[in-house]
Symmetry: C2
Subunit: 159 residues, 2 copies
DNA sequence: CAAACAGTTTAGCCTTGGCTAACAATATTG
DNA sequence: CAATATTGTTAGCCAAGGCTAAACTGTTTG
């Protein structure tokens, strides 16, 4: 460590208490995030398919492509994966449907999503912003935090 | 739409107000998330490098690999990208340093991260959980929400 | 000061999740 | 009912972000 350090001055360790977490814990944080990323897209698809079925009665690849702002080819490929994972059933040129497992996942995702969305609104975030943030955040909120968010929202509504 | 619909009954549209958002808005949500994903890892690296420099005086590939729970090869490849993006400077086999742009990004990320972390703690989330959640959430929280979180945390501390 | 160890880089592989272009099937409509 | 429009699929491309194995550099130490 005899290197000249051009960053030596800033950013200064703002708060002494904010030292680096121990390596194992730090590693755990990143690993958890990476893990979430793997399932996140799958969940988004399943959740959207569930919503389309609930609100429209059918879920077509074209709708998904439009709503996700993604090409139909991408959706088609993804549907194959969802099939392999046994989350959806699909006949070519027909609406998609969710398997048992798919429905369970859709409900869980939807519930998560709603809790986060309602929480953000209860906090005072504008609706459009809340929707965007919720979409990104939902996969990274632990059950513990989720429970707290729900409680907060309920309390807010009472007053 | 003459298909038999095995999912017709559930999940029922729980709240009438929770209809699907208009296509453009919906698409915007997903696009924003996809966009965040592209920069997210970069920001994590830069933020971590900044932290290592601040707390340890140097940032070596091996430390990053350990803290991110990722192979050194992966870090090495990533550092090449960060170099191309002119966020870090590196001489082979020497500690990394941040460029101007890198420092700015590190500070912004750090600030974001801290706001989310302190907010979660103020909400009542346990420290270990808050750290994990913050790591995942930080890239998906809009400036608007961030401001609200900060205000909330301050209020909480006053009482 | 040579050998061993630690740290770094490179090469080459894999999967994911995008894309476009070309083709195939279904639906709509003149 | 044929032509056209819409929708879905396939093939083949790309970049990102992982990995292991092997080669190389630098440091430490017997």
């Amino acid at each position: 460590m005899t290197d000249f350090n051009p960053n030596a001055s800033l950013p200064a360790p703002s708060i002494p208490g904010d030292a680096l977490p121990p390596v194992e814990q730090h590693a755990q944080q990143y690993a958890t995030v990476r893990n979430a990323h793997e399932t996140e897209l799958i969940e988004d698809y399943v959740e959207l398919i569930g919503d389309l079925l609930a609100h429209r009665g059918e879920a077509r690849a074209a709708d998904i492509a439009n709503r996700m702002a993604v090409s139909q080819a991408t959706v088609s490929k993804m549907i194959r994966r969802l099939n392999e994972l046994e989350l959806v059933t699909s006949k070519p040129y027909r609406s998609l449907f969710l398997t048992e497992a798919g429905q369970k996942m859709a409900e869980t995702s939807r519930a998560r999503h709603d809790i986060v969305l309602h929480f953000l609104r209860a906090l005072g975030v504008r609706d459009a912003t809340a929707r965007i943030d919720a979409e990104g955040m939902e996969h990274h909120v632990s059950d513990e935090t989720l429970a707290i968010m729900q409680r907060f929202t309920e309390q807010q509504q009472k007053s």
